[in-house]
Symmetry: C2
Subunit: 370 residues, 2 copies
C-alpha cells in the first residue's frame, strides 16, 4: 500500500449534507479539547502509559507552585493538626501502585443529545504507576476524631463553575478515605509529578473516576457533615435533567478499548488495513471490580467471540486482551465489550445522563480491509 491512491474511501469532512445540528460542536467545547488531553488509543499498547501521554482533565488553570513554599495542612476534626512539607511527606512509608484512571466524562461526546462540557470520545483513560504515602497513616498521626464522617480535599486550582467561584474540592467518607490503597502521591512513573498532574502532591483513590483524585492538594480537613460543594452536589452526578440532583458518580464502570488496527486516515481516523491475520489487542478495566470477560465482534455487535485475557497490571489497573482476526477484504465495524466480576456487561446503547457521566458504551472502530 506504499504509494497507493485510495480515492473515495474516506468521506470529505465539510460536506454538510445530512449532518444533524447536534453533531456540530461549540467553540467552547473545542477550546476545552485543545487544553485537556486524551490518550491516543494506540497508547493502549503500553501496560503503563508514558507520563506525557497520560490523559488530563483540568477544570481551572494549572497552578504555578513553589514546592519550597508549599505546605499541606491537615485539620478540622483531628486532635493534632499537621502542617507538612513535601520532604516530610516523602520521608513517610512509600507505596507504588499502577492505577488505571479514567475521566467520568469519557464517552460524553458520543451521547445524543450531547451535554456541553469537555467533549471526550473514548480517550480519557490511562494507567500510571503512582508513588506516595498512604493517607490513612497521615490521618492516624493527625488523630482523626470519631465525629468526623468525611474527609475534604482542597486543591490550589481555582475558578468559576456553575456560576460559583471555588477552589476545586471533593470529599470522601472516612471508610473510603482510609482504605489502604488511597495515597498522597508525589511521583508518577518514578518521577516527581509534572505540574499538570498535580505537582507537588495529589490524592490518589484507585478505582474511582478521575475527579476524585484531587490535584495540587493544599488542605485535608476532617468534617462532621456531608460536604455540599459544587463538585459534589452540582457536578459529577448521574442526573436525568438540570432539575434532578441524581446519584453521585463514584467508581469506574467496566470498559474495554482496542488499539485501532491498520493505519488511519488523518481527518476521519477511519482505518485502512491489508487482508490477512492480525492480532487485535487492547485493555479492559472495571474500577474496584475484576474484568471477567472480553468479547469481540467484527460485524457491529451481532456475533461475539471471546478474547484472551492476560493478568491485570495490578489489582487497580487494566488487563490486556488479544484476539486473532482473519481479516478478509471488506468494510467492518469492530466492537469490543467487557463484563465485570459482578456480571455487568458494557452496553451497546448509550448510558445517557444530563452531565454525560459514566457512558461506558461499547467502542466501534470503522475499518476498511483491502
Amino acid at each position: 500500500m506504499d504509494t497507493q491512491k485510495v480515492s473515495g474511501r474516506f468521506p470529505k469532512v465539510g460536506d454538510e449534507s445530512g449532518l444533524a445540528p447536534a453533531d456540530r460542536f461549540y467553540r467552547e467545547e473545542v477550546q476545552l479539547a485543545n487544553r485537556n488531553r486524551g490518550m491516543p488509543l494506540e497508547g493502549l499498547r503500553y501496560p503503563v502509559t508514558p507520563a506525557g501521554m497520560h490523559y488530563l482533565l483540568i477544570h481551572f488553570d494549572i497552578p504555578y507552585v513553589d514546592a519550597g513554599q508549599w505546605r499541606l495542612e491537615i485539620g478540622g476534626l483531628v486532635n493534632n493538626p499537621l502542617t507538612l512539607t513535601l520532604d516530610d511527606i516523602m520521608k513517610r512509608p512509600a507505596v507504588s501502585i499502577p492505577v488505571t484512571m479514567e475521566c467520568a466524562g469519557n464517552g460524553r461526546a458520543l451521547l445524543d443529545p450531547r451535554p456541553v462540557s469537555q467533549p471526550w470520545l473514548l480517550e480519557a483513560i490511562s494507567t500510571a504507576e503512582w508513588t506516595g504515602t498512604p493517607l490513612r497513616g497521615i490521618l492516624k498521626e493527625a488523630g482523626l476524631r470519631d465525629e468526623a464522617i468525611e474527609i475534604l480535599f482542597t486543591g490550589l486550582d481555582r475558578g468559576v463553575q456553575g456560576e460559583e467561584v471555588q477552589y476545586y474540592e471533593r470529599s470522601l467518607n472516612v471508610q473510603d478515605a482510609t482504605r489502604e490503597e488511597v495515597l498522597l502521591a508525589y511521583a508518577m512513573n518514578g518521577r516527581p509529578l509534572e505540574p499538570q498532574h498535580g505537582y507537588p502532591l495529589r490524592l490518589l483513590v484507585p478505582g474511582w473516576y478521575g475527579m476524585t483524585n484531587v490535584k495540587w492538594l493544599h488542605s485535608i480537613n476532617a468534617i462532621a457533615e456531608t460536604f455540599q460543594g459544587y463538585q459534589m452536589t452540582g457536578s459529577y452526578r448521574y442526573s436525568h435533567s438540570a432539575d434532578d440532583s441524581g446519584d453521585p458518580v463514584s467508581l469506574i464502570r467496566v470498559r474495554s478499548l482496542m488499539v485501532p488496527p491498520g493505519i488511519p486516515d488523518f481527518v476521519t481516523r477511519i482505518r485502512l488495513m491489508e487482508a490477512g491475520e492480525v492480532t487485535l489487542m487492547g485493555r479492559a478495566w472495571a474500577g474496584l471490580l475484576r474484568v471477567a470477560r472480553v468479547e469481540i465482534s467484527t460485524d457491529g455487535g451481532e456475533i461475539w467471540s471471546e478474547a484472551s485475557l492476560a493478568e491485570p497490571v495490578s489489582p487497580y489497573a487494566w488487563r490486556e486482551w488479544t484476539y486473532n482476526w482473519k481479516a478478509q477484504t471488506g468494510r467492518y465495524i469492530l466492537c469490543v465489550r467487557a463484563t465485570d466480576s459482578e456480571g455487568t456487561v458494557q452496553p451497546m446503547a448509550q448510558h445517557w445522563s444530563h452531565q454525560g457521566m459514566g457512558n461506558n458504551i461499547t467502542q466501534r472502530v470503522d475499518v476498511i480491509v483491502e
Copy 2:
C-alpha cells in the same frame, strides 16, 4: 471572591441564538483535538515547558518502536551509506538547545471561514531543551555528493492523507539541512524522547514550524530533485484555494501570547479577576528572527503600551515579556502583539489561507475585573 456567586457573568453555552453555522465544529475536528494536545496558556510561565505539557500534533498513529531493533538508514546520493543504532548516534558529539516549536496550524480555528483540520486556537506552542547530534556531522561522514540538492527525512508513522497512503516525510534543501543548529535529537528536557515526541529519534530544525521536525525518524536520503511528496506539495502551503498550489510554509512567524490573568470560568474560559495592580506576562518568538518589541492593549487594540522584554531563553527560543496593569472594575479585551527584527508586526486581522497555516493574529483575552 472565595464563595462568591457570579450569576450572569458568563454566557451559557448551548444557547444557539445568533450562532453562525461556521462557528460550529465537526466531530472529526473534535476527535483530532482530543488526540492532539495544546499547551494550556498558563504553561507560558515556564521558560522550558515541562515535557508532558509540550504541544503535540501527530498526523497518523504514534508508532510502537523497539529501539533495540531500530536503525537509522542514511543513503541516496552519499558515498558511504550508513546504518546507525541509537547508541551509535548517542556516541557522536552532543548539543543541547532550548527551542521554541509551534505548529503551522496554530490559530487555524480562529479563521473565518475555517479550514477543517486540527482546530487549534492558540495553544500549539512550547519550548523544550532538545539534545542530539548535529545532522551535518552525520552527512559529512556519509559523504554527501555534489549532485544532492535536498535531504529527505522519512518517519515511521504511516497513514492516509489527501487520499494517499504515505509515510510521513518532508525534505529540506542542503543549505537549510546543514545549518549548525539542525539536530538529530534523542532527548527532550534531559530525558529520552517519549513515544509521542518521536522516540527514539527525531529531526530538529530550530526556527521552522513543527511539521519540519520529522518524528520517529527512519531514513535520511540525499536526493537530486525537489521532493514532491504530499506533505510538501499537498499540505503545508500558503494557498488561496484548493486549486492554488501556493507557497511552502517554512519559518515560524512572529507571535506573542500571554498567560490569561485571574481565574477562568470552566466552560467559556472567560477570566475573572480582582481590581488592582497585576503583572501581565507571557512569551514572544519570531522563528529565526529576533523579537524586537512587544506591546499590550487593554482596550481591544486601540491604544498600545510597551511591555518589558527579558533576554531570550536561547537564540532559538522565546523571550519573556511583562507589563504592569492597574486593573479597574470593568470588562476588558487584553491584546498582546510582537514585532520582529525585520519590523513585521503581528496583525489584528487574520492571515487567512486555504489550509489555515501561519495565522499569527493578535491574541485577545476577555477579562472581567470586579
